[in-house]
Assembly symmetry: C4
Homo-oligomer: 247 residues x 4
């Protein structure tokens, strides 16, 4: 179906005066995420679904300075792919940037996990040091990060897209092992999402975190709440304070 768009129609998908259009938002949010230390050194990014029936997925390129992306560098894919994106699979595009050497984000099949398994409208990937350090400070065999009795837990939703957690609930975020290639995380992330249906995010040991939400706003605010909790948990572990309970 993407083949039916003319070049002009495809280019129009990333040109808008609306600052909240996904082609503009991805650029702005990546600049913001850079300042937060989430996407330095080309790592991380955000993907947003857009359009009637969420027909299109907007993606940043792989391996570029995320704080300097422009709308013309954005890839647009039909949400309804011929086959669900897998590591190494061929993908359908409706718009490919003309700048030479650009390749869609290596996170593509991981973003699709959030879109298909949680019906998320946006998914963020960060290399935040708080996320990575947390996976190092927790015991080597910890399968998840658990925390309770923190006001910021109330900003996180069950499964990332459901009801917000309560102060007395225990947040649980699974931790999966890193792989040599980013795309090879796809299966491990999907398995963790199935095993932990209430988890609002997936931590990747020595790598970072994937967070999603119904909308880009909810993905971003949950990303901030979780990053705050990861940082607080690191400080608490360093001070030998328990993460669960309020004793």
């Amino acid at each position: 179906m993407s083949a039916k768009l003319t070049h002009e129609e495809a280019e129009a998908l990333v040109r808008s005066d609306d600052p909240e259009h996904p082609a503009n938002l991805i650029c702005e949010l990546c600049r913001d995420f850079y300042k937060l230390g989430w996407v330095t050194g080309t790592g991380g990014g955000i993907s947003i679904r857009h359009g009637y029936f969420s027909e299109h997925v907007y993606l940043a390129p792989s391996g570029v300075q995320k704080e300097r992306i422009k709308p013309e560098h954005i890839f647009v894919l039909p949400f309804a792919q011929s086959s669900v994106p897998k590591p190494g699979s061929q993908r359908d595009f409706v718009r490919i940037p003309s700048k030479k050497g650009l390749k869609e984000s290596a996170c593509t099949p991981l973003f699709w996990n959030a879109f298909t398994m949680r019906e998320a409208g946006a998914c963020i990937h960060t290399h935040s040091q708080h996320a990575v350090l947390l996976t190092l400070l927790l015991p080597r065999d910890a399968a998840s990060f658990r925390m309770s009795h923190q006001e910021m837990i109330k900003g996180v939703r069950t499964g990332g897209v459901g009801k917000t957690l309560r102060f007395f609930d225990t947040l649980e975020v699974p931790i999966i092992e890193n792989t040599a290639d980013e795309e090879d995380l796809t299966e491990g992330m999907a398995a963790a999402m199935e095993k932990y249906p209430d988890a609002p995010a997936i931590l990747v040991r020595r790598h970072g975190v994937y967070v999603w939400g119904n909308t880009w706003e909810q993905a971003k605010t949950q990303g901030e709440c979780l990053d705050y909790l990861f940082e607080m948990a690191c400080k608490m572990l360093q001070a030998k304070l328990p993460l669960v309970g309020d004793e």
Copy 2:
């Protein structure tokens, strides 16, 4: 009395070219507070009283990205309510934003504590990690945070609205327990303000802090001084240095 305003008159309350008009100030200050790490993930905010005889109270909405609020999202309430705002109570409004789904800040009755019990002109609520970590590093049964012999204490006022403290004075900020719902903190905050009439702020364990002042400038500068002292106290506790005295 709010019923007497026409729609145009109510809208005019949040439209001004003056950057120091409360509808503009709240937006600007929330952006600044976001950069300070005080209001990430939709948490925290500021409320400002305004007008002849401080007739109106300006409030941000609940659960939105605080760094992206616009003047048209601001709620305006008459300071003289039919009944003092309580958890779950009905409130009088003179201006409600037309954007769907917006609800006034859950901090409303807590801000009113500062307005009625201290005659404050502005009240700030933050989720600053320094405030929260401090409530965790202090002994579990500490009813208050005490500190002396810090130059920054001189930027804080007795009761938040009186004379500035002196270098040799001991600052004391009570710590109350968090509740499941933000509004349910109202009573505990009021009780602590009565028990500690000189306290310039109220810390909420595992949650954050409420700070106020005669004006928004004094609320903000006291918020900065206290946040500085919370951060310094965390570092001193981690280095096993006493917070009171100068030995």
Copy 3:
């Protein structure tokens, strides 16, 4: 002599299109210092000498938000005062801001120490947490902070206004005790400057630091080098590393 200026002439002293005019610079630098955490909560600031034969001294007001100062809030004093500014002494002015309630910085006689004893062209006062924490982490009876074998030492000048130090030199910054009133530091600072003629700055225990230079550029870059070294020294002390020598 200041009496000879008309109101228009006095006002012209703070109005300039040149971004490097001291009335503009003080505002810009205070915004920058705020971002560095040097002048939050109304603390700290910078004073600059200006004009043929350095006739005038430009000062920010006391007790205001330093990141929001405007040129019209700046005080201008003749450098040649009837008597050297002392705590509580009357000062000569050539320009007093018309805004009600503004008072010249309480640091005035301390800035004059740098101007008269070192012929400095600018003096900065900060409440940087690195400076304050350093005075707390050092032994209680330490009369000075000493450090060597750091590249950043090479950005600091002997006495603040002489030759730059070498990598193998030992930087020494005296630490004086804080007083109840800022102005009462004047004598202690002067005594320390006499006892340590090579010191580029004066640390004030539990308070902050005074740094100066031949020009505002040298005062600012030395302030940055020293703040970097204070921060590094705190980290080294926490890691139990010696500050002097390179073993």
Copy 4:
């Protein structure tokens, strides 16, 4: 050959409306690096090769506030010098800024190491505290910093200009001793680059780091990845976690 340029031709080398022209880029990147804490207090900077066959090298001046450099302050040197820049050697210029007192960066011969030994297109020098603290936290006789099993390692290239490292590879960055004069590091840096041909950077104990890349983009993103790893390594050493392996 530089003698053949007229004054107007030489000045044209630093005047461009293109934000990615090296004379503009160096100014912008130095402002960015200042915010990252890489070049405070006049330290550090970046040099970029430019033009057909990389004929010219663009350099910032020495000892100035790096965040306030303007294109007219930039030095331009022919890449093909009469003799390779050495400490104290005479250099060929095609453009010298007219502002009095400016001298080319003391890093010049060190940048040339990267240009000639790695055919780098850009080289960055920082005084980042993470780099310096790391050289202090590692054992005193450590000849290099080694780290593995970190996603951010994948943003670093073999020798700074080759293939990107893999997750399971061990990054190794040699550490050389600091010297009294910056230029005197030239030989030690060259020797380390010969001994460690795969190293993407050179750490200088108690001083900072030199990083390079094929282009300014690759130099910057590798600088960010390495700084992230230096910071993470400091935190891991402080928490007594091993830097190599994933146990």
